[in-house]
Amino acid sequence: MSALLKTVNLERTFGAVTAATDINVELNTGEVVGVIGSNGAGKTTFINMVTGYIQPSGGDILVRGKSIIGKSPRDVSLAGVGRSFQVPQLFQELTVLENMLIAFGFSVDRKLSFLKPLRSKEKVEKALSVLREYEIEQYAEEVVSTLPQGVRKLLDIAMAMLAEPGLMLLDEPTSGVAIEDKFLLMDTVMAAVRKSDAATMFVEHDMEVVLRYADRVLAFYDGRVLADGPTQTVLSDAKVQELVVGHHLDLSENEASTSKESAHVRT
């Protein structure tokens, strides 16, 4: 069986700038991968290419063995790749519930009904239950633009997850979220993600978060994949620490352990 996601010599240039080059990554069902790298290292470019938002200048992307080169975001998401966004992409002037209902209609029902009301009892029930799962049910009737970033991030992810994608890409799920809420958010998200057997890839700047949730890490530097391997291995790599993390990371306390309680960063 072919890998869930496989990229072959993926490359993207913007004019004279090379944003990504020589990217060869393989991903399989059930994996949770953290993507790290400083700004401009090529993380978001990578995600954007895999989800069809930008087209690579060279190389190939295979989802379940099929190339998605030239496909639109819509076709890519129909192929089972979901994503969330660094800046949540929501229907700002609609309520949380309406956002969910629209997402339901497009990604689950997949039927553009003309006269059936969107707010049928049964559908509202379903939407609310998903919101409950993400612990944002109390905001159901609020207009999105009035809500705090954390709620928006969760809604953004919840909407993407509705289609039960085989591969879920989270672009900085915790950016803009208050430090004390980061773990709460990630716990909620990961709980929802783990319910399906989707592979998950998340871009993250906070090494604590990476340590706690990722089984495997991809470290980007200067448009290339600097390191790819189990979380511990990659994060203890000297080069990664120097070029990507930017400081020395002390992993001693959670060696060989996935215990999430005591990770901390020395600056």
Partner: protein, 316 residues
């Protein structure tokens, strides 16, 4: 929709028709024209809810009117229902072609490009001697299922048909706006990227709405042609389309009834301005437009909503 709502709607229709017929003729004429324009604006509002403002609805308004005119005058078909269907069919066909190109554009480009298409029709009609060039031609009186009401009653017939259409299409549009397809418009306006990533086709959503708007505009044009008895290329000129945008803005996009009510008020305002001040009626319209934009950014319908909210607070 509940039976009670349907019954109420039916009664409302009867009342409006009766009222329309009892009005002095010049007012019922204006009212009929307003119904026609209201339908055009209803289509425009569907587009506006998707964030697209067409400055070219005059294209389909004019197509509808000319189809009506040509059928009655040159083919001899006068049945109002046949005419309506033909107008809608022709304009939907045109919209289906133009839409393929136009629906890729957004914002000001959509506005300008749609205007360009309607100006092309204007140019074609002006060049066409057979269709009377800028003078246009007269439209014969319509009939209904074999009943020919004659010159005087035919405007009553158009009025009745117009009101029925407005009520039926309004109710359908209301249902439509509450459906997924309706909300898809808001989704496009708010965030196309999200919609695409949800697996929805933004193009298809916009395309369908564009075609619906074209059909509504054609019906509006047909009503206008049949009641005024004359068509000319002015209907495709950009100022006509601008007027529709004016009415849409005046009413707001909050409710399907807003464009209809706004069309009635607009016709009243315009005819007042004409009568009160034949030299400076444009200025009056200009000030009215600015006042609405300044003080009622969501259109006149926001007044209704404010009123409702107050009432709701009192009763609760």
């Amino acid at each position: 929709m509940k039976t009670r709502s349907l019954a109420l709607l039916f009664v409302l229709g009867l009342v409006v028709i009766a009222g329309g017929l009892l009005l002095p003729q010049w007012m019922s004429y204006l009212f009929t024209i307003a119904m026609g324009k209201g339908l055009v604006v209803l289509g425009l509002v569907l587009l506006m809810r998707a964030g697209l403002v067409s400055f070219g609805q005059g294209l389909y308004y004019c197509v509808g009117a000319y189809v009506a005119g040509m059928l009655t005058q040159f083919v001899g078909v006068t049945d109002i229902l046949v005419i309506m269907l033909a107008s809608v069919a022709v304009s939907v066909a045109i919209a289906a072609i133009i839409g393929l190109l136009l629906c890729r554009y957004r914002e000001i480009f959509f506005a300008m490009f749609s205007m360009a298409f309607s100006m092309i029709l204007y140019g074609l009609l002006v060049r066409n001697q057979f269709l009377g060039s800028t003078d246009g031609f007269n439209v014969a009186n319509p009939s209904l299922l074999g009943w020919t009401p004659g010159a005087e009653a035919s405007s009553d017939l158009v009025l009745i048909v117009a009101v029925c259409l407005v009520i039926v299409l309004g109710a359908v549009a209301w249902r439509y706006l509450k459906s997924l397809s309706g909300y898809a418009g808001e989704a496009v306006r708010e965030n196309e990227i999200r919609l695409e990533y949800l697996g929805g086709s933004v193009f298809r959503v916009v395309y369908v709405k564009y075609i619906i708007a074209a059909a509504l505009a054609a019906i509006g044009g047909t009503i206008t042609a049949l009641v005024s008895g004359h068509v000319d290329p002015e209907m495709a000129y950009w100022t006509t389309s601008g007027e529709f945008v004016f009415i849409a803005l005046m009413g707001g996009t909050a409710h399907v009834a807003a464009p209809i009510v706004a069309a009635v008020l607009f016709e009243a305002l315009r005819t007042y301005a004409f009568a009160v001040s034949p030299y400076t009626w444009q200025m009056i319209l200009g000030f009215a437009l600015l006042a609405i934009i300044l003080f009622m950014p969501s259109g006149l319908w926001s007044l209704v909503e404010r009123f409702q909210n107050k009432k709701a607070r009192k009763t609760s």
